[in-house]
């Protein structure tokens, strides 16, 4: 077991990639065997993630150097700097790993029925596993260049998956937009990495963090990195691609896209807190992120409320929720240099943002799966065409209500627990931000009241009288998310203590992250 945990970080990335290339071969022989190996593989990966999480929380940062004589040998003999590919997994990386593990397993279970009639399923599962493996890579890597490589793999596989239902023209357009936006973001990130490499001759995040001087070029790199990752996570005004792509992708892929966006949020946090840390203009950069967050919250929710396409409505709500995370993160960053403020409310703001990340993936994931279930049965996403579906799709209606209440921050669900952490900590920084946040939550409730009312309530429409509930595997996938939402809602203290607080401590522990790399001398 100790050996397995010792190699777990690389296995978590390698197993999905390996199965990805086996899937088409197995799929040609038997579809059931292909499905079994995909689910079995991701279940094994999820087990590894939880085992690694336990190990990281109990024993600290996990280092894995590829090609070294032992995994902890970060700086090879004869060199002064880390040159190999190094995976560095701390509390926040493993927290992200938990999100990706849960979401990917749910997405695959849901896809078994939802994608049953589609063509090209072998390619679909291959791309899905590539996306899962690369998202794990993004959150586990300790190297900027590998972050770029994994981002590229996730973007390319994501675009292909969005466009995978070739009979829909809007899916093709969504895939095209996703690849254009992702390519621009990736290229700019590569350019920023080049600026840092040119100055310090380093790519390792820990080693770079120890060397960074915050020169003019570092500032340019910072601006580019922040803007590119904010675009990838759908921050306003660079959010417009998000509603165009999330709404047209198969919903199981949209759930993975949410996890990929969260990985971009993780990268943003890693850049700001670990790479630059206290060297940057904390108040200025913090306020830039807060401003984008507030814009995202308000624009996202006001655009969501006017949508009549249920998936676009949820997609705009994703923009809004990303705003909450950005505000929490921005406040934490703005007071990073002020020990008293950081201890009083800054740490809580960051914890709230981190807690909201997993909650967001869960409840938005559930809402998208419900929207997919509706589309699966009635073939439309248009709320104007819906009505009375709650009479025949009782479980689906219940899941939507649960996701909607959690997203709106209604107690006792998980969204409330993370939002209250953000509200109360941000209030001490600037009360106006909290007032905007509460207003946005109220409008979010109005958004989902409209959607629920339009789709599920009212008299049963004659054309939908014969509609049945969705297949059991789709119900099972939604049940998994619903159960986790309820557990997280009822026991938020345990979640915060077990995974959120270690993630926050890891994010603020820049020195530990650096020492784990440069402190190990051969």
């Amino acid at each position: 077991m100790a050996t397995l945990i010792g190699h777990s970080s690389i296995l978590i990335i390698a197993v999905p990639l390996l199965i990805a290339f086996l899937t088409p071969l197995i799929g040609m022989a038997s579809k059931k065997a292909r499905n079994a190996i995909v689910i079995g593989g991701l279940a094994f990966v999820a087990f590894l993630v939880f085992a690694l999480a336990r190990d990281v929380i109990l024993n600290g940062i996990h280092i894995y150097t590829l090609g070294a004589t032992f995994p902890g040998l970060t700086i090879p003999e004869g060199t002064m700097v880390p040159v190999r590919i190094i995976l560095e997994v701390d509390g926040v990386s493993v927290f992200m790993g938990i999100i990706v593990a849960i979401v990917s397993l749910v997405a695959v279970i849901y896809s078994l029925s939802a994608m049953k009639g589609e063509t090209g399923q072998n390619s679909f599962y291959t791309l899905l596993l590539l996306m899962v493996g690369s998202t794990f890579g993004m959150v586990f890597t300790g190297d900027l260049f590998n972050l770029f490589v994994f981002l590229e793999i996730a973007s390319i596989s994501g675009a292909a998956l969005i466009a995978s239902r070739t009979r829909f023209a809007d899916s093709q357009e969504g895939g095209f937009k996703y690849i254009v936006v992702s390519a621009i973001a990736s290229l700019m990130i590569l350019f920023a990495i080049g600026l840092l490499y040119a100055q310090y001759n380093l790519l390792n995040i820990g080693a770079l963090a120890a060397a960074i001087q915050y020169t003019m070029l570092d500032r340019i790199a910072l601006v580019i990195l922040i803007s590119a990752f904010v675009m990838k996570l759908g921050g306003v005004p660079m959010h417009m691609w998000l509603s165009d792509t999330y709404s047209v992708a198969p919903v199981s892929i949209t759930v993975l896209l949410i996890a990929a966006s969260q990985a971009s949020m993780y990268a943003l946090m890693r850049i700001c807190f670990t790479l630059y840390g206290v060297t940057l203009d904390l108040a200025v950069v913090g306020w830039i992120i807060i401003a984008i967050g507030i814009l995202s919250m308000f624009t996202g929710v006001t655009m969501a409320v006017r949508q009549t396409d249920i998936t676009r409505l949820i997609a705009y709500n994703c923009v809004c929720e990303a705003g909450f995370m950005l505000v929490g993160l921005g406040v934490g960053l703005a007071v990073l240099g002020d020990v008293t403020a950081l201890r009083t409310y800054g740490t809580t703001a960051i914890s709230g943002a981190i807690f909201h990340m997993i909650n967001h993936a869960l409840f938005e994931g559930l809402l998208f799966l419900v929207a997919g279930a509706i589309f699966y049965r009635i073939g439309t996403r248009d709320l104007n065409q819906m009505g009375g579906l709650g009479h025949t799709m009782k479980f689906t209606a219940m899941f939507f209500l649960l996701g909607a209440l959690a997203s709106s921050g209604i107690p006792p669900f998980n969204g409330f627990a993370s939002k209250i952490l953000i509200y109360e900590s941000v209030y001490q920084f600037n009360p106006i931000l909290t007032i905007i946040g509460i207003l946005v939550s109220i409008i979010t409730l109005a958004v989902f009241v409209k959607a629920f009312f339009s789709a599920f309530t009212g008299a049963s429409l004659p054309k939908y009288e014969d509609i049945k509930e969705v297949p059991k595997t789709m119900i099972a996938a939604m049940t998994i998310l619903a159960v986790i939402i309820i557990i997280f809602g009822l026991f938020p203290g345990l979640v915060v203590d077990w995974i959120v607080r270690p993630a926050t401590d890891a994010l603020l522990g820049q020195t530990s992250y650096i020492n784990a790399i440069v402190g190990v001398i051969p």
Binding site: F176, V181, P237
Partner: protein, 116 residues
């Protein structure tokens, strides 16, 4: 380790909230039980009554999603005119917004550096 989330300012305990919710539900149930018990499902008293007019079919009775919050959108018409305009659906425009954010962020950062 605790079941409570503490923000450093206040705390949140969903178990207490659930107990309070259960108490409220018991009170609501108490009042509900004191209501009319002679209701019979499927009889005339359960039918829709529109002042004697013919009740339209389910398709016509349903208030559609597009009709919800009409007053809200009318009141905020000017805001929505401004906010919807940039959502062109053209990917070139998305890239322009990215460039704008990079430029504005860089200017803010450098101006603050010069002033500071």
């Amino acid at each position: 380790m605790t079941l409570i989330v503490e923000s450093g300012y206040e705390f949140w305990n969903p178990i207490i909230w659930l107990i309070a919710f259960a108490v409220v539900m018991v009170i609501v149930y108490f009042f509900r039980r004191r209501g009319e018990e002679k209701y019979k499902k499927g009889e005339a008293q359960a039918q829709i009554f529109l002042c004697g007019e013919e009740v339209p079919g389910a398709e016509q009775r349903q208030v559609r999603g597009g009709n919800a919050y009409w007053g809200f959108f009318e009141t905020l018409k000017e805001y929505y005119d401004v906010i919807v305009r940039p959502h062109t659906g053209i990917v070139n425009d998305y890239v322009v917004w990215f460039i704008a954010v990079v430029a504005i962020s860089a200017i803010i950062l450098f101006v603050v550096e010069l002033v500071g």
